[in-house]
């Protein structure tokens, strides 16, 4: 039921790019440093994200990456689907990555019907959460943890 490490890194990189949206491009080095992601691996992932049209890059000195779309237009589902594939726990309930299951009768598989509900729920959550929502959450998290005690000492 887990995201691949690749997918997790992609989400974290995109989250950072979303925070810097509007500013200058962010280098792999910076992304790698700030998010603790192995640089070489991140390189590949960003390349994939570029092919998907979610980010664009600039070469040479002061080069780097930035979002190709506004954060509000990028739901988490889109990133995950591109990097990791299906959101479904089993591929026989996937809408976009459907594969026939080896079970005897898919149409009457009880397990399948449960998994379909899980898929739909997860897909809906990932679809409605965009990078903008992440930014908003991050802001809240920055203020809340210490609470009103922020100003003590």
């Amino acid at each position: 039921m887990k995201l691949s490490v690749r997918g997790e890194y992609a989400l974290r990189a995109m989250q950072l790019l979303a925070e810097r949206y509007g500013g200058p491009v962010v280098s792999i080095q910076t992304l790698s440093d700030e998010q603790n992601i192995p640089k070489r691996f991140l390189e590949q992932i960003l390349n994939d994200l570029k092919s998907s049209g979610l980010v664009e890059s600039r070469r040479g000195m002061a080069g780097g990456y930035r979002l190709a779309l506004a954060p509000a237009e990028i739901p988490l589902a889109r990133i995950i689907r591109y990097i990791d594939g299906a959101l479904s726990p089993v591929s026989c309930v996937s809408e976009r990555f459907y594969e026939k299951c080896s079970c005897p009768d898919e149409t009457r598989c009880a397990l399948r019907s449960v998994m379909k509900e899980v898929r739909d729920t997860v897909a809906q959550m990932m679809e409605k959460t965009t990078l903008v929502d992440l930014i908003a959450r991050a802001q809240k998290l920055r203020s809340v943890p210490m609470g009103p005690m922020d100003f003590v000492i």
Copy 2:
């Protein structure tokens, strides 16, 4: 976000064992045939399930496996957790399989907070669905597809 093949097979085998609950033990051969699961692989999986206390076995001729607990007492979550591990999309939000994430500040990670909600939702669904529910669903699925036309020639 997918279950491993191992986990999927485990669920399907358990589903069949639940349907036969109360009857005689079911052999690996039967399970393998009826559910289209590679026999050798299934052998390993059933072994794991046995160590977990979810199934028990009987040796010798007419030997096989059966549930060690009533179907109502076995939620899908328990099977998945034992075979596949965490239900969470990322391990830094897992309750039972927690692992520290490589991100700079877990407590203020927006992605984490989203993933936590996904985890909680999925966990709740898998926790409340037991093998009895699968049986009930299977019954519905057996009757519904054809509908009231069942008796037409």
